[in-house]
Symmetry: C2
Subunit: 246 residues, 2 copies
């Protein structure tokens, strides 16, 4: 059973969030395989409350992408200004901070030209709660991994939230469904590559909280995010995720 594990781990460890996309359309054969993979995820009582609305270049899809683009641009403007992305080392064009900011700018400015945008919707059988995500975000992760396995890149975001009501009206998404995540998909303009994460022993405990798990380790070649070991510290790339949304 080693072989499938190696393939799966390789895909997981290199599925970097992609902000810069080539304009090439995603062939329908690949798109179908990616979405089928998404729907294999578990959900509460196997109730499968996830629904994926795929936006490409249809009339309504284009209008929805334009609205999303507007929201993404204003979210990034707010975030970059609040967090000082154009200050400090951001003034040095070659700094990781400035490069990340440029990628984000390209991401939001070119949003309408990203070939595929998927709205991951959840049918809400219960009032919104922090556990409902257990029935939709595993499916989103399947989507991301399947895309990566076929050579595509993806990015998760909740920057649709400020325009969710308008999007729902535009796309006939019913009252009892909510948009849990916006996922962009396309061929990466840059490279896939190893992710940066904290050292694994910061994240995994044995027996009780903060009890070191001697049996887990970062394999050779692992790359570390900020808060990694000294020397491995690097600026943390910007993101488009729920904790940014006030």
């Amino acid at each position: 059973m080693t072989e499938p594990f190696e393939a799966v781990l390789e895909v997981m460890a290199t599925a970097r969030t992609i902000h810069r996309y080539l304009p090439d359309p995603v062939p329908e054969k690949d798109l179908g395989r990616i979405l089928y993979a998404a729907t294999r995820a578990p959900s509460g009582s196997n109730s499968q409350p996830f629904r994926f609305v795929v936006l490409r270049d249809g009339e309504r899809a284009s209008a929805a992408k334009a609205l999303l683009a507007e929201s993404f641009r204003s979210q990034w403007s707010r975030k970059s200004s609040n967090e000082g992305w154009d200050r400090g080392s951001g003034l040095d064009r070659d700094s990781p901070k400035a490069r990340s900011a440029r990628a984000m700018r390209q991401f939001v400015d070119g949003f309408e030209r990203i070939p595929v945008v998927v709205l991951a919707c959840i049918l809400r059988f219960h009032p919104p709660n922090p556990y409902e995500g257990a029935s939709i975000y595993p499916a989103c992760q399947n989507l991301l991994l399947a895309a990566r396995a076929l050579g595509y890149g993806a990015c998760f975001s909740v920057w649709h939230l400020p325009v969710e009501d308008r999007l729902k009206a535009m796309l006939d998404i019913p009252e009892h469904a909510a948009i849990s995540l916006t996922i962009t998909v396309g061929r990466p303009a840059g490279r896939h590559g190893p992710l940066r994460r904290r050292p694994v022993r910061d994240l995994v405990y044995d027996d009780a909280w903060e009890q070191s798990a001697a049996w887990v380790q970062d394999p050779p070649g692992s790359r570390f995010s900020r808060s990694g070991p000294p020397g491995a510290r690097r600026f943390r790339p910007p993101s488009v995720a729920e904790r940014d949304l006030k």
Copy 2:
């Protein structure tokens, strides 16, 4: 790029929820690889708010498993009675319903002997909200897929919730962390195998809500859950997920 996709899809499509486990311990080498894979998942701003507390047979772990077992048994008793699992076709020992109920009974009755129980915790930087799961459930799905790729089975549950406060006290889990999911891991007593899901066109839309996506299809050999095409309808197995928790 076809090869990794095939491996990844195979793992996704056969990572059935496992309720019956062999008592064999999970070797630390495998456990370390599974947990490392979990931590490769994306999260908001790459903030990695996920922490995994692994319960095996240490003193505190055993006490925590006993407390969880108590909670799981009372949740299943309540659910099986509310949903009539011992009525109707459940009276026929050979019905899928009765078989599923027996697997659930074995699951909760043998909970203490499941070799590995992982508490997936989230550091809450914000008040609880339906989007926080985007920063933890993708990591849980990585864990499940990595386990499957190594031949292990897993099950997602939120049946820890009634005893969460006591668990946190027992394991020194701090105030600002919450337990998002309990994940059991071990060698399956039965077989892995193809998942049952609704027909994919019920779940994937093109351009707008309920607009059929002609380019997605169930590959030959797909198996359908209840609400599948006529003839493919089967009783839906019981679950241990968030929508069961009142």
